[in-house]
C-alpha cells in the first residue's frame, strides 16, 4: 500500500462561512496504480490532490505514505518528500512567468541538487517527450494554453517521481494532444509511477486502472476498470 487516506476532512473557514471541501475521505492507493478521479465542479477534487501533494494540510484524518504518517512530519521533511517523490500537474499550469519554459522545467530538479549537466539532459528529454522542445527558450506568456499545459507536464515528469498528481492534464488540449498526454501518463505508469489524475473526460478515465467518483466532498464510487 503506497497511499492510505483515512477519515480525511478539509474545512475552509472564512468570515463565519464554513465550507466543507472534503468529508471523511477513505482511500487506499497501491504502488503502480493509475487512479482517475471524476466529479462535478467544486466537489473537492483539487483539494484532495492538494492534500495528496502535501501542499495543503487536512483538517482531520490521517495520510500515510508508505509507512510514514505525513501529517506528523515537519514542513522541512515534507519539502524533501515533495522533491523526491512527487510530480504535480496543476489545473492552472502554474508556470513561473519570469522563467523560460526550459527554466520552469528545470526548477523541479534544482531542489534535488543534481549537477547542471544532468539537469540539462533530463530537461531536454522531458520537453521532447511532451513535444515542446522547440519552445524551450520561450516565456509562458508566449505559449498557447495547450503548450503551457504540456510544459507543466514536462515539469512534473522530469524528476521521474513515484507519484504523479495530475489535475485535469488534458483540460486545455485538443483530442489528438490529449491522447498524446494520456499516452505519456500510461507509459510512466507502465514504468512504475503511481498516478492520480482528475479528469472530466470519461474516455480518459477509462484509460486508468481505477476510477473514483466524487460528490460534495465525498467518494461515492470506486471501481476498478477491466483491462
Amino acid at each position: 500500500m503506497l497511499i492510505q487516506l483515512s477519515d480525511i476532512q478539509r474545512l475552509y473557514r472564512s468570515d463565519e462561512v464554513e465550507t466543507t471541501a472534503l468529508h471523511d475521505i477513505h482511500l487506499s492507493i497501491d504502488r503502480g496504480e493509475f487512479v482517475a478521479i471524476m466529479g462535478p465542479s467544486g466537489c473537492g477534487k483539487s483539494t484532495l490532490l492538494n492534500i495528496l501533494a502535501t501542499i495543503d494540510r487536512p483538517s482531520g484524518g490521517v495520510y500515510r505514505f508508505g509507512d510514514r504518517d505525513l501529517g506528523r512530519l515537519p514542513e522541512s521533511e515534507l519539502a524533501i518528500f515533495r522533491r523526491t517523490h512527487l510530480g504535480y500537474i496543476f489545473q492552472s499550469f502554474n508556470l513561473i512567468d519570469e522563467l523560460t519554459i526550459e527554466e520552469n522545467v528545470e526548477l523541479a530538479l534544482i531542489y534535488r541538487k543534481l549537477p547542471r549537466a544532468e539537469r540539462r539532459i533530463r530537461v531536454a528529454a522531458a520537453m521532447d517527450r511532451v513535444g515542446i522542445g522547440h519552445r524551450a527558450r520561450h516565456y509562458p506568456s508566449q505559449l498557447s494554453g495547450g503548450q503551457q499545459q504540456r510544459a507543466a507536464i514536462a515539469r512534473a515528469i522530469v524528476g521521474e517521481p513515484d507519484l504523479i498528481l495530475a489535475d485535469e492534464p488534458t483540460g486545455n488540449l485538443d483530442t489528438e494532444n490529449g491522447a498524446q498526454v494520456m499516452d505519456i501518463l500510461q507509459t510512466l505508469n507502465d514504468e512504475g509511477a503511481t498516478i492520480v489524475m482528475v479528469t472530466h473526460s470519461p474516455s480518459h478515465a477509462d484509460l486508468a486502472k481505477r476510477r473514483v467518483d466524487m460528490l460534495d466532498g465525498q467518494i461515492v464510487i470506486s471501481v476498478r476498470n477491466a483491462i
Partner: protein, 837 residues
C-alpha cells in the same frame, strides 16, 4: 497586516452604459476605488506617506539651514558695498596668515589717502561691567566703534537717530534686548549707563535703541560706544602697525571704488606703514567683502565662528538627496503597486474607459496622496527645527510665504512623476494580454532592474553618509580628548593682559593664587590656550649656520611644567640651581653675548633639522650675539585649533616681569565654579581696582571642537534619516515583491523547495543590491573623508573599522527590514499560496 490581494473591482456590476459615463463621474469612481485600495493596503499607504513625509521634512529643514547660511548679512542695506580691512602676515618660516583683525593705526591715513571710502569704523568688542546707574553691574559685550558706525552698518533703529546716536563721546546706542535687560523696558532713551572698562567707570547716556541684530549677521553689537580717548592712548593697536585688537570696516559708494582701494593697499602700506619692528614684506593689507566673510573667515585668523561652506553645501546636498531618495521610494512603490492594478485597468478598458481618462485618474490619485505627505513633512520639520537649531547654532524658522509655493511645486512634480509611469504603462496595456496572463504584470524585467538600481543608489548614499558620520564623530571625539601636550582639565587662566598697570603686581597675584586652598601650581607665561599672541625670531644653529628657522618664543615663569602638565621627551626641565636656566629679564638683549638655557618643542627639533630629540640636547642656537643652549625637549603643546599646525617654539624661563601674560592655575579636586570664586577673591586682595578676567581652559578650548561636534550630531541625524528612508524603501519594495511572488513560491514549494530554500532565495535577492551598494559607498566615503581629515593637523587615521561597522550594520538592518515579510511569505502553505491571485 492587510491582505495584499488584488482589489476586487466592483465595476462589472455597474449597469451604466460606460461609453457615455461622464468624465467627472469616472474620475470620482476612480478616486473611490483608490480610497478603497488605500484602506485595504493600509501598510502600503502608511509607508508611502511616512517615507515621503520624512524626506520632505529633511529637505525643508536643511534647505532652511542653507538659506539661513547663504543669507548671512544680505539683509543689511548696502551689504555688497561693505568691506573689511584684513591683514596678511607672511612671517619668514611660517605660512601666510590672513587675519580679520587689523591695526587701528591705519584708520586715519587710510581715510586721508582714499577719498573713495564713504564711511569707516573700527570695532573693538570688549567684555565690560555694565550697570544701569544704580544696581549691580553685569558683564556685557560692549563694542567700541568710531562715530560713523551707523553710516557703515545701517542697523534699523527703534528709537533715536542713527546720524547723531554716536556723535558725542558720552553717548551709547543699545539694542532692544540690552535695554530690556538693563532697564526692563525698551524705552531707554535718555537713561544713564555706567560702563567699566580697564578699571575706569564712565557714565553714558542712551542716545538710541536699535533693533536686535538678527543671528544671520556677522556684526552683532549689543552696546555701541565711541572709543574713549584714554583707550586710544593706551591701546597698542592705535599706534603700532604690528598690533591689532579689532576689525576695521569700510563702506564704499560703488563696487569699483572698493576694487580701486584694494588695488592701492600694497602701495599704501609701503608708503604709510611706520613700524620699525615690522620688516618689509612681512605685512600687507587687503579688503574682504562683508558678504564673503561668513564663509570665508573659517580659515582666517580669528574667524573660527565662520561657517564651512563645504559643510553647508553638504547639508544642502543631503537635504536634496533625502528628498530624491524618498521620491524614488514613492515612485518605486507606486509603480510596483500599479502592476497589481493591471487587472482593474484592463477591466475598466473592457468597460469603455479611454486612455486619457485612465491617465487622468492615475495622476489625480498620485497628486492627492501627496498632500498628506507634504503636510506630514512640514509638521515633522516644525518639530525638528528647535533641535536642529540647538545642534547647529542656528535660528532658523519656517517662512510659510517662502515655503508654501515651493511645497506646492514639489507636490505637483512628485505627484506627476509618481503617477506618470503607472498611468502611461498601465493604460497602455492591451486588456486581453493582462486578463489572459496568469498573474499581474510587474512592469517587466526593465522595471525590476530599475528598481534594483534605485535601491543600490539609495543604500550607497546612506552607507557612504553613515561612514562619513562615523568618521566625523570619531574625529570630533578625538579632538575633545586628544592629547594637546598639556592637561586642560582643572586648569584656570587669569589674564593680566588687560592693563599695563598689572605688570608690577604679577608676582603678588601669583603668590596670592598659590595661597588659595586647592591650588597645586601657579605659573605665568605669555602664551596661552586659544590665543595667538606670539613673538618670533630667527635662531641659527651654531654647528650648521645654514639652518636658521623662525621659532616662537614663549616666556614662562616658575612651575610652568607642573601647572600645564607638559611632557618632557628628552633632557631636563629648567632648574633654578643652574645659573643660566633663569633669564634675568624676559627680553634677552641680543646685542650681548649672554648664554641662556632653553627648552624646545618637538616641531622645533624638526625645524632645526636635528635627527631626534636627544641629539638636540646641548646644542647651541644663536640670535645675533645671544646664545641659547638646548637643555630639554617637550612634547608639542597645542594651544590652538587642531586644524592649525603647531609652530616650532622654544621656552625661556624667567622670574622677571612678563608683558602681556596670563597666570595659569592648576587646581585639582575643587569644583571649577568654586575654584573660580576663590581665585576671584584672591585677586581682589591684590588688585581690587582691576576687573578679574578668569576662565577655565577646557571651556575656552571647547570652541575649537564644538563646531565639529555639532556638525557630527547633524550628520548623525542626517545619516539616520537617510538609512531610515532607504530601509523604508527596501521594506516597501520587498513586501511588494514578496507579495507578488507568493504564487511563485507556492509552485516552488510544490516542486520540493523547503522553507529554508525559499528564504535563502528571497533574502539573497533582496540583499544583493544592498551589498552592491557597499562597493559604491566605500570609495566615495573614503575619498570624502580623506579630504576632510587632511584639513586637520591633528587627526585620526582613516581606519577600515568605520567602513566595516557601517556595512555590517546596513546589511543587518536591511535583513531585519525584509525578514518579517520574507519569512511570512516563505512559510505560507503552498495550496493557499497557489490560490493567491
Amino acid at each position: 497586516m492587510p491582505n495584499p490581494r488584488l482589489p476586487e473591482t466592483d465595476l462589472p456590476n455597474t449597469r451604466l452604459p460606460h461609453s457615455r459615463l461622464p468624465n467627472a463621474g469616472l474620475l470620482a469612481h476612480g478616486v473611490l476605488t483608490f480610497c478603497r485600495m488605500l484602506s485595504r493596503h493600509r501598510l502600503y499607504a502608511a509607508l508611502n506617506i511616512v517615507g515621503l513625509g520624512l524626506g520632505i521634512a529633511v529637505f525643508v529643514v536643511l534647505s532652511l539651514v542653507v538659506r539661513f547660511e547663504y543669507g548671512f548679512d544680505r539683509r543689511l542695506p548696502n551689504a555688497a558695498l561693505i568691506d573689511r580691512l584684513d591683514e596678511i602676515w607672511t612671517l619668514p618660516g611660517e605660512g601666510r596668515t590672513h587675519s580679520m583683525f587689523s591695526t587701528f593705526a591705519a584708520y586715519d591715513p587710510l581715510r586721508a589717502d582714499f577719498p573713495q571710502i564713504a564711511a569707516a569704523t573700527r570695532i573693538d568688542d570688549n567684555r565690560c561691567a555694565v550697570d544701569d546707574g544704580r544696581g549691580q553691574p553685569a558683564t556685557m559685550s560692549v563694542s567700541f566703534v568710531d562715530p560713523a558706525f551707523f553710516d557703515v552698518f545701517a542697523l534699523p533703529m527703534r528709537d533715536g537717530d542713527a546720524r547723531d546716536a554716536l556723535a558725542a563721546p558720552d553717548r551709547v546706542a543699545i539694542s532692544e534686548s540690552t535695554a530690556r535687560r538693563l532697564f526692563g523696558t525698551v524705552d531707554a532713551r535718555g537713561r544713564q549707563v555706567g560702563i567699566t572698562n580697564d578699571d575706569r567707570r564712565t557714565l553714558y547716556t542712551v542716545s538710541a535703541v536699535f533693533r536686535d541684530v538678527p543671528p544671520d549677521m556677522t556684526v552683532r553689537p549689543d552696546i555701541l560706544a565711541v572709543f574713549p580717548q584714554d583707550m586710544k592712548d593706551r591701546t597698542l593697536a592705535f599706534r603700532h602697525w604690528g598690533s591689532s585688537s579689532g576689525a576695521t570696516w569700510l563702506r564704499f559708494r560703488a563696487a569699483a571704488d572698493a576694487r580701486a582701494v584694494d588695488a592701492g593697499l600694497p602701495d599704501f602700506v609701503h608708503r604709510r606703514m611706520a613700524d620699525p619692528e615690522v620688516k618689509p614684506g612681512w605685512f600687507n593689507m587687503t579688503l574682504s567683502p562683508l558678504l564673503d566673510t561668513h564663509f570665508g573667515d573659517l580659515h582666517n585668523f580669528g574667524g573660527e565662528s565662520g561657517s564651512d561652506r563645504r559643510v553647508i553645501d553638504a547639508l544642502g546636498l543631503v537635504g536634496l538627496l533625502a528628498l530624491v531618495a524618498a521620491v524614488i521610494n514613492y515612485v518605486n512603490l507606486a509603480t510596483a503597486r500599479a502592476g497589481l492594478r493591471a487587472r482593474e485597468v484592463a477591466l475598466r478598458k473592457v468597460l469603455g474607459a479611454t486612455r486619457p481618462q485612465l491617465v487622468a485618474q492615475f495622476l489625480a490619485e498620485s497628486v492627492v496622496l501627496l498632500v498628506p505627505c507634504a503636510v506630514l513633512g512640514v509638521a515633522l520639520a516644525e518639530l525638528a527645527l528647535p533641535f536642529v537649531n540647538a545642534m547647529g547654532g542656528w535660528a532658523v524658522a519656517i517662512d510659510y510665504a517662502w515655503l508654501l509655493p515651493r511645497m506646492a511645486l514639489v507636490v505637483l512634480l512628485v505627484g506627476v512623476a509618481a503617477g506618470l509611469y503607472p498611468a502611461l504603462v498601465l493604460s497602455g496595456y492591451r486588456p486581453a494580454a493582462v486578463l489572459a496572463a496568469s498573474r499581474a504584470p510587474s512592469g517587466g524585467r526593465m522595471g525590476q532592474r530599475l528598481r534594483n538600481v534605485l535601491v543600490v543608489a539609495q543604500f550607497g548614499f546612506a552607507i557612504a553618509f553613515a561612514i562619513c558620520t562615523l568618521v566625523v564623530n570619531a574625529q570630533a571625539a578625538f579632538l575633545r580628548t586628544a592629547d594637546r601636550g598639556f592637561r586642560q582639565d582643572h586648569l584656570f587662566l587669569v589674564s593680566l593682559e588687560t592693563s599695563d598697570r598689572m605688570q608690577g603686581r604679577q608676582q603678588a597675584v601669583m603668590d596670592a593664587m598659590r595661597a588659595v586652598p586647592g591650588v597645586d601650581a601657579v605659573t605665568l607665561s605669555d602664551r596661552q590656550p586659544r590665543s595667538n599672541n606670539q613673538s618670533n625670531s630667527d635662531f641659527r644653529r651654531t654647528d650648521r649656520p645654514s639652518v636658521d628657522p623662525m621659532l616662537t618664543i614663549e616666556k614662562i615663569g616658575r612651575n610652568y611644567r607642573q601647572a600645564y602638565g607638559v611632557t618632557l621627551v628628552a633632557g631636563r626641565w629648567f632648574d633654578a640651581a643652574h645659573g643660566q636656566d633663569v633669564a634675568p629679564t624676559a627680553q634677552i638683549d641680543d646685542n650681548k653675548p649672554t648664554t641662556t638655557s632653553i627648552v624646545i618643542n618637538e616641531r622645533a627639533v624638526q625645524a632645526l633639522d636635528f635627527p631626534d630629540a636627544a641629539s638636540a640636547l646641548g646644542q647651541v642656537l644663536t640670535e645675533r650675539q645671544a646664545r641659547f643652549v638646548i637643555i630639554g625637549v617637550v612634547r608639542d603643546v597645542r594651544f590652538m585649533s587642531a586644524r592649525a599646525p603647531v609652530t616650532p617654539q622654544l621656552y625661556l624661563r624667567t622670574d622677571a616681569v612678563i608683558p602681556f601674560s596670563v597666570v595659569a592655575v592648576r587646581a585639582d579636586g575643587v569644583a571649577p565654579d568654586a575654584m573660580m570664586r576663590r581665585l576671584q577673591a584672591a585677586w581682589r586682595t591684590i588688585a581690587p581696582d582691576m576687573p578679574f578676567v578668569g576662565e577655565a581652559a577646557d571651556g575656552r578650548l571647547a570652541n575649537y571642537y564644538r563646531p565639529d561636534q555639532q556638525r557630527g550630531r547633524l550628520f548623525t541625524l542626517g545619516a539616520g534619516v537617510a538609512i531610515v528612508i532607504a530601509c523604508l524603501g527596501l521594506y516597501g519594495l520587498s513586501s511588494f515583491s514578496a507579495a507578488r511572488r507568493v504564487h511563485e513560491i507556492g509552485i516552488r514549494k510544490t516542486l520540493g523547495a523547503s522553507t529554508r530554500d525559499v528564504l535563502g532565495l528571497l533574502v539573497g535577492q533582496f540583499l544583493r543590491p544592498v551589498l552592491l551598494a557597499n562597493l559604491i559607498a566605500w570609495p566615495v566615503a573614503w575619498m570624502a573623508m580623506r579630504g576632510w581629515l587632511a584639513g586637520f593637523d591633528q587627526r585620526i587615521a582613516l581606519s577600515p573599522s568605520a567602513f566595516v561597522v557601517v556595512s555590517v550594520a546596513a546589511a543587518a538592518l536591511s535583513l531585519l527590514t525584509i525578514l518579517g515579510q520574507t519569512v511570512r511569505v516563505a512559510r505560507a502553505e503552498p495550496a493557499k499560496a497557489l490560490r493567491h491571485e
